[in-house]
Each structure stands twice: as structure tokens, then as C-alpha cells.
């Protein structure tokens, strides 16, 4: 297999991606570190937030997009910080205009500033409006299999349940729900939020997730660039393990790995 060949792409809205790791660009020390972490992660899709420009700021200050040019990365504008369907829709319309008609977006409507738990009622309402408006919606949601299916039926191109709360680093708290979501879904399922370390990402992929989206796990590591490369390997390892198909778990093994015959004569008992 030639190195540039990709026999197992992540396909979102008909477009193939080599990397199954999507990475956020918040909370880094500076744009140089953001770029270095993104490079180390191998991510092709990177999330960005949409915020008011600081009027009166030094106009020569660099912008994020100079470090992450849309020509090189697929930018995924999010609606972080939106608590109503209407605000989320307006934010993504601004994002589409900002990014020259780019229509792949991450929808999240939060319900509570303390937990950042998603408001699934407004999320579903916003998803319907955005799909109607021609957006390709990757949607952050709770790990409720019913709402995940409803979001898919509303036309979302990917469903992204949380592993645990945003920024918590608690890992995958309900693998059973994720499995139900994955089993029922006809669109890609990505774990979004809650990953704390590399093993969490590997477990998500071993469960059969199509990808993982994370930000804090990388940005808040002591060495974000090293963690980004750890996450790349974890996602690849987890995906390979999923495709390989793990052995069944058994309490006892009646089948040792080494031959049971041909052992040397046991010594007499003293």
C-alpha cells in the first residue's frame, strides 16, 4: 500500500478524510502552539469559534486563520456559547459568510453554563432550520440514542454525542449508550467532548465510533503538542483494533497460548 493511499477514510457529507481525529483550536498558549498541535494531531478538520471582533484592537494583530488557512484545513465553525436555537443559527449564517460559503458546521446548543450540557430540544430545532438552509450539520448532543436518531433523521451529516461533559476529561462514562447510537446510526458517529487522555480516544474508536473530536484534552495537557501526537496514535490504534475485531472476553482461558504437549519431564517433588 502506498503511503498516500487511504483505504479507510472517514466520509462526512460525501467527502473523504484521512484523519479520524478532529481537533479544537481553543485554549492554546498562542497561535503558533495551536498550529503545532494541529499538525502533530494530523487532523484535517479543525473547529473554530465565531466571536465579535475587538473594535479598537491593534489592526496588525495576527488572526487565527493566518495560522490555519482554510486552503489547508477544513474549518468547522461551531456555535459554542449559544443557548438558543436562534443564536446558533445566526452564528452559523455569519460563519458561512465569513468562510466564503463554507457549509460544513458544528452545531451545539448548550443548556446550562455550569455543566455545558446540551439543550437537545433547541439543538433539534436549530438542526432542522440549518439543514433547510443548506448547511451540512455535524451536531453535538447528549448520549441519548433517541435524540441522536432524531438528529440524524433531521438531516444532520454526523452525530456527535458527548463521552462526558465538555472540558471534564472524564472519559467515556456510558459506553453502552454510545454502542446503541453507533448501532442505530447511518451517518458517522463521533465522540465529541469528555476525552481526557489517549486511552479514552482509543476506547471510543474500539467501540466503533467513526471519529473523535476533542480540544481540552490536548490544549490543557502539560505538553499539548506531544498529547496531540498521542491522540493521533490512539485514534489510529483504536480504529485498527475495531476493524481487526477483538477477541471475546472470558473469565478463564481453557486455551493457553503455548503448546500443551512436549513439556520436559517434571522434576520429582522434593
Amino acid at each position: 500500500m502506498k503511503p498516500h493511499e487511504n483505504l479507510d477514510p472517514l466520509v462526512i457529507a460525501g467527502k473523504p478524510y484521512r484523519s479520524r481525529l478532529l481537533i479544537g483550536t481553543g485554549k492554546y498558549k498562542d497561535f503558533a502552539e495551536t498550529r503545532a498541535a494541529v499538525e502533530a494531531s494530523g487532523a484535517e478538520i479543525v473547529t473554530v469559534a465565531i466571536r465579535r471582533t475587538n473594535i479598537g484592537q491593534d489592526p496588525k494583530q495576527p488572526s487565527l486563520l493566518e495560522f490555519l488557512p482554510p486552503s489547508k484545513f477544513t474549518l468547522l465553525p461551531n456555535t459554542a456559547g449559544c443557548y438558543t436555537a436562534d443564536d446558533a443559527v445566526r452564528t452559523l449564517r455569519l460563519a458561512r459568510e465569513l468562510l466564503d460559503g463554507h457549509d460544513l458546521v458544528k452545531l451545539e446548543v448548550l443548556g446550562d453554563p455550569k455543566s455545558l450540557y446540551p439543550n437537545v430540544v433547541d439543538t433539534l430545532a436549530a438542526a432542522k432550520t440549518l439543514v433547510q438552509d443548506g448547511f451540512k450539520v455535524m451536531v453535538y448532543t447528549s448520549d441519548d440514542p433517541i435524540i441522536a436518531k432524531q438528529l440524524e433523521e433531521a438531516g444532520c451529516v454526523a452525530v456527535m454525542p458527548l463521552a462526558s461533559l465538555i472540558g471534564s476529561g472524564m472519559g467515556i462514562l456510558n459506553p453502552w449508550n454510545l454502542q446503541i447510537i453507533i448501532e442505530n446510526a447511518k451517518v458517522p458517529v463521533l465522540v465529541d467532548a469528555g476525552v481526557g487522555t489517549a486511552s479514552d480516544a482509543a476506547i471510543a474508536m474500539e467501540l466503533g465510533c467513526d471519529g473523535v473530536l476533542m480540544n481540552t484534552a490536548v490544549a490543557a495537557a502539560k505538553n499539548p503538542v506531544l498529547m496531540a501526537s498521542a491522540m493521533k496514535m490512539a485514534v489510529e490504534a483504536g480504529r485498527a483494533a475495531f476493524l481487526a475485531g477483538r477477541m471475546p472476553k472470558k473469565l478463564y482461558s481453557a486455551a493457553p497460548s503455548s503448546p500443551t504437549t512436549g513439556l520436559i519431564t517434571p522434576s520429582p517433588k522434593p
Partner: protein, 67 residues
Amino acid sequence: MISVTINGERRQLDAPLNCVELLARLELSGKRVALERNGEIVPRSRFAVERLAEGDRLEIVVAVGGG
């Protein structure tokens, strides 16, 4: 003079003023920004023709780091 709200702040501006002139006044010319006026997107192609009016509510946004 007209009074408009830009990113939540009230400002007095000399009128008439279109969106290109507004961005120049805010030192945002040439920057990648998107503009919403009274809840509706103003496409970049219309910046030169859309004139601001008394009481307009404007949001001017950029892409920043986020997860």
C-alpha cells in the same frame, strides 16, 4: 449623525455611511469579517451598497480559537 449599536456598543457615526466605510472607520478594512445587520447577514458583495440607518444593530465577527 446616526446612532447605531456595534457589537453591543452604542456609537454615533457621521452619515451617510455604507458598510465598506464603516469597516474602514473601525480599522477593519481588508480583515476577514462577517457582518450582521438587524439580525440579517449582509453579504460581502453588498458592503458597498448597504447604507447604515439610525438605530441599526450590527454584529461584526471573526473566527477565533474554539472547540
